[in-house]
Subunit: 136 residues, 2 copies
DNA sequence: AATAATTGTGCAACTTTGTTGCAAGTGATA
DNA sequence: TATCACTTGCAACAAAGTTGCACAATTATT
């Protein structure tokens, strides 16, 4: 895939097979992935530590974003072009209690909230848990 | 405190000093606490494992609820009377990037969201990060 | 009040998850 | 192809969470 190299280059990252494989895994499985998921998928090829560092790098560069969860952090691709400077998201995440998958609902964004005086909001994370269409 | 015993009894739990102390810690510090926070506050009196088990018990009984976070789960008191059966929350959580505190905004509830067909929502978690009034 | 049944605690041992330093390997550039 | 900065694997470590079991504390029963 040359698309992968493009993405990495676009974020000023060297092309390495680990980064290509991690990125590719995010693209093919389209749901949010934990470090453990990636270790399961690629752990025979790469060291655990390298996967941790790849995730950290991707986070910093705006290739992926964190997805909150009540039983362990996950990560998902940033669909719009995030960067090191601007790393903004306001879409909803849905976690299915049946299949366990967590997905970005990219085109559903978090409704505005009127906070009390003095609160300066910067970041919003909404996780909805329930049953997804596949499992319903 | 007899209030503590009342609460425990009300949830069909035996009164022990660990449970009283954990509950009391949640009441006095009014923000969301991690296991580590409690270990810091009470760790000389009780074993780490006991604190884990106390949190698990409190969760199951509806005394506390989970608070999502991007760097580790926290817990906070259920203000309205949750129980083993009905354990419902729809209020917003705010995490301050300055002081690090996470608090329940009990009277701000999460706005309704119109999900696409097929999604059956059951639980909502909204974490807003930013600067709190104290630190602003 | 004494005893029995039940539940909670501490300890030890273990697993899982995440971090750090460093030497060797690799990719971009000239 | 030579150079240099960056990336990787490995080892060692630290932090977080789990499990089994003997003993302690609490509650129920007599
Ligand atoms: Mn997302
Ligand atoms: Mn809360
Ligand atoms: Zn599902
Ligand atoms: Zn603050």
């Amino acid at each position: 895939m040359d698309q992968l190299r493009e993405t990495l280059k676009g974020h000023h990252l060297r092309t390495t097979t680990c980064r290509e494989d991690v990125l590719s895994t995010f693209i093919t499985k389209k749901n949010a992935l934990s470090h453990g998921d990636l270790e399961g998928a690629l752990g025979e090829n790469y060291d655990r530590v390298t996967i941790y560092r790849t995730l950290k790098t991707f986070l910093e560069k705006g290739i992926i974003h964190k997805v909150l969860d009540d039983e362990g952090l996950r990560y998902a691709l940033c669909s719009h072009n995030c960067s090191e400077e601007k790393h903004h998201h306001d879409h909803i995440h849905f976690k299915c209690s049946e299949c366990g998958e967590t997905n970005c609902l990219e085109n559903l964004h978090i409704p505005a909230v009127q906070l009390p005086n003095g609160y300066q909001p910067e970041n919003f994370n909404l996780l909805i848990q329930g049953v997804c269409p596949k499992c319903g």
